[in-house]
């Protein structure tokens, strides 16, 4: 079966969508990613959509689902590389992708993910310390 590959880089799962996804492929990606987060204990998911020429409401909804599901599984999602024409179209379509964090490119997305994963750890350490007190 056709699948979109998920790469692991440290605590981050990296997905690059390079094909015009048909609906089932997008649903499979959503299922694979959630399974992979649990399996690897990943703290972040980076989705590169710079090759995607169309994001319709279905794909938008899948991206939103992935962000929500990974948050529930204690991982953060950042979507990077959206083409300007896609951004314009999404907003006119009525989808502003609430709840999805975005960055301009993979590098900035990685920085954002790393910073928020570090921040999470600090919060955990503080919580642990106050428990010990």
């Amino acid at each position: 079966m056709e699948r979109i590959p998920i790469l692991r880089m440290g605590r981050v799962l990296l997905v690059t969508i390079q094909v015009d996804m048909h609906d089932q492929l997008a649903v499979t990606l959503q299922d694979d990613l959630t399974a992979k987060i649990v399996e690897t204990g990943a703290g972040g998911v980076l989705i590169d959509i710079s090759s995607l020429e169309v994001v319709d409401s279905f794909i938008g909804r899948i991206l939103g689902n992935i962000a929500t599901m990974s948050r529930v599984l204690d991982a953060q999602t950042v979507v990077v590389g959206m083409q300007p024409a896609v951004a314009i179209t999404l907003v006119e379509l009525g989808m502003s992708l609430p709840g999805i964090r975005t960055a301009l490119n993979v590098e900035k997305g990685m920085t954002l993910l790393q910073a928020s994963m570090d921040a999470d750890e600090v919060v955990l350490e503080v919580a642990d310390a106050s428990l010990e007190d």
Binding site: D20, D23, V54, S57, F58, R61, A85, T89, E92
Partner: protein, 126 residues
């Protein structure tokens, strides 16, 4: 072109992209038209139980356009105004398809008869 499966949606998007590019639509115009086509084709598939789309190049004086007609013989839409409203869905979607597609094109027309089917026609001019 037939709209019978999720794979057909991909083919419809590709065809609309090619035609829009041939008409020298800008990248943003192309993307809007392809996205509108994707929404409407999905409606034909999910709510109309499949159907077909007709692509048509138009020439009116100096201006050129692309017209897409989506037809199905599905259950039809009882209340079109309601179906066009953002956030309303009779299925499991987000309710952005029909109203959203209307905002992405220049002309939008919908004819639907309960029990007979639905035809949605959209046009974008260069």
């Amino acid at each position: 072109m037939p709209i019978r499966s999720a794979q057909d949606l991909v083919l419809v998007r590709q065809a609309v992209r090619t035609w829009s590019a041939e008409l020298k639509f800008s990248l943003v115009e192309q993307t809007k038209m392809v996205t509108a086509a994707s929404e409407l084709a999905r409606n034909t598939l999910d709510y109309g139980r499949g159907g077909h789309v007709t692509l048509e190049m138009l020439q009116e004086g100096l201006r050129k356009g692309l017209r897409l007609s989506f037809e199905d013989k599905g259950p039809g839409i009882p209340d079109i105004d309601l179906a066009l409203r953002d956030g309303y869905t009779s299925g499991g979607g987000m309710g952005l398809g029909l109203g959203g597609a209307r905002r992405l094109v220049n002309e939008f027309d919908i004819v639907s008869k309960v029990g007979e089917g639905t035809r949605v026609t959209v046009t974008r001019w260069k």
